[in-house]
Structure formats: C-alpha cells, structure tokens
C-alpha cells in the first residue's frame, strides 16, 4: 500500500465498516497476499478477459436474482463481441445512471474492442464474465462463484484479466 484510505478521497469512506456492521461476516478480509503470476508474453500478444460484478448480462439470459436475501452466486458469460445494446443490467446496489447512458462507464466493452483492434492487447477471450456484487456469504462466494469464474477464465484461454468490482 502506498497510502491508507483515510488519506484519500474515496467518495464513500468507511464502506467496509458500514456493510460489515449491517451484515456481520459478509465482507472479505485477508491477512496475506497471493504471489504475483508473471506475464507470459507482451500485452500486445496477450488475450484479455474482463470480470465484472456489475450485473451486466445479455438480453434474454436469466436475470440475476437481485431480491434473494443472501445474494446470487451464479455468473453470466457476456460475448466479447457484444454491442452495448445487446446487454442489460440487473442489480440494485450501485448507481447506474451513468451506465444507463453509456454502459462503458462500468462495462467498457467498446473500449476493449477498440484496444484489441489497435493491437494494444493481443485479443479478447470469447466471453467476459459477470455476476452481482450483492453476496452476503463471503465464504460461499470464495468457495463457489470465485472458483467457478476462475475456471471459466482459464477455459476461455485468458492470458491476463482485468476486474472491476462494482
């Protein structure tokens, strides 16, 4: 860490404490750092995947269960060739007024497509991966959803992954 959150301008400081107070045990805390995996090739040759907790999903797929008291531990594949108009958002836990006008503010699929076309990155995995961030059982999330998505990311042939925890 180069700074502590108290010294920054996070727009909602104390978020971890607030949520953990309301839903004890729901927030993840780790004591250790995982070893860094090395890049195996230059970015311009690497296939990138994107993982998002924004609840973005292709129209026509089973909507995320935003009403379940302990959350939805499933994920959706979002084809990386999708147009924003092919996609919709199912979630109720973060402000979507920006994303409603331009999905790229939370799920920048058009920017990914441009960067791949320009060969800044080697390419995109066939799918991106999306779930909802409202999951009150962090142990279950780690045991099921996190492992399921990690396996799917490997199966899709990703060389690098960018994540956006909404």
């Amino acid at each position: 860490m180069t700074a502590h959150s108290d010294e920054t301008k996070q727009l909602r400081p104390g978020l971890w404490e607030t949520v953990n107070e309301r839903y004890p045990g729901s927030m993840i805390t780790k004591d250790d750092f995982v070893p860094l995996a090395p890049l195996r090739k230059p970015l311009s040759e690497s296939r990138l995947t994107f993982v998002s907790s924004a609840g973005v999903q292709p129209k026509g797929t089973m909507p995320f269960d935003v009403g379940h008291p302990v959350g939805d531990y499933s994920f959706r594949r979002v084809p990386s060739t999708s147009n924003p108009s092919d996609l919709e958002i199912h979630q109720i836990k973060y402000p979507t007024h920006g994303a409603v006008n331009d999905l790229n503010v939370i799920f920048p699929i058009e920017r990914w497509q441009e960067l791949a076309a320009e060969s800044v990155i080697g390419g995109l995995t066939p799918n991106f991966f999306s779930f909802i961030g409202y999951n009150m059982d962090s142990e279950r999330l780690e045991r099921t959803l996190a492992e399921d998505i990690a396996e799917a990311v490997v199966a899709d042939g990703a060389d690098v992954a960018l994540l956006a925890p909404a």
């Binding site: 860490m1 180069t2 700074a3 502590h4 959150s5 920054t8 301008k9 996070q10 727009l11 909602r12 978020l15 971890w16 404490e17 927030m27 993840i28 805390t29 780790k30 250790d32 750092f33 995982v34 070893p35 860094l36 995996a37 890049l39 970015l43 993982v51 907790s53 924004a54 973060y94 402000p95 979507t96 920006g98 994303a99 006008n101 331009d102 790229n104 503010v105 939370i106 920048p108 920017r111 990914w112 960067l115 800044v120 990155i121 999330l141 780690e142 959803l145 996190a146 492992e147 990690a150 990311v153 990703a158 060389d159 690098v160 992954a161 960018l162 994540l163 956006a164 925890p165 909404a166």
Partner: protein, 95 residues
C-alpha cells in the same frame, strides 16, 4: 475472485472505487479511482477517460512489483464530471 484467478497463473489487475474494501480483500494489483460507485471507468461518452483508466490498469499489470500494490490516478470525480458535461454539451445532448 481476483486472487482465485491469479492463483491459476493468470496475472490480474482490478479497478476499484472503494479503497478500504481493497485494503481488506488484498487483491494482487489494483488501480484506485476516486469515482462514484458504478462509474469505475468515468463518465458517459468520455471515451478518452475510459481508455486512460484501462491503459493505466494495463500499465500497472505490467509494472507492479509486489503483490497488493495499489496505483492512484491523479484525477478527481469533479474533473471527470466537468469534462463529461462538456462532451455532452458539445454533442448537443440534453443533460
């Protein structure tokens, strides 16, 4: 999630707007943007900003030297909103 992917040998980086949660969950690499929740890549129609944040994250993916390293971007939410508003006005969109 990010740790599970990194464990499988795939380098990862996240873009976060909640630094305290990042400090608790200890992802391998993160870029912090001081933006509103749900607006990790900036504001609508601001392609350059969206792109800049992605490129910073990719650069951090390449250059971070130790697990847990967080990069801070020198941009404010107020600045992002101002620029976004100007872009929308220039395009003739009602705001």
């Amino acid at each position: 999630m990010q740790r599970a992917i990194e464990h499988r040998g795939i380098p990862t980086v996240s873009v976060t707007v909640a630094l305290d949660i990042t400090e608790h969950s200890k992802p391998p690499r993160a870029v912090f943007v001081p933006f509103m929740m749900g607006h990790h890549f900036g504001v609508p129609y601001h392609r350059e900003l969206q792109r800049q944040i992605i490129l910073e994250a990719l650069d951090h993916l390449v250059k971070a030297e130790r697990s847990g390293e967080v990069r801070f971007l020198p941009i404010t939410w107020a600045q992002a909103r101002r620029e976004g508003k100007a872009i929308e006005e220039a395009a003739g969109r009602m705001t």
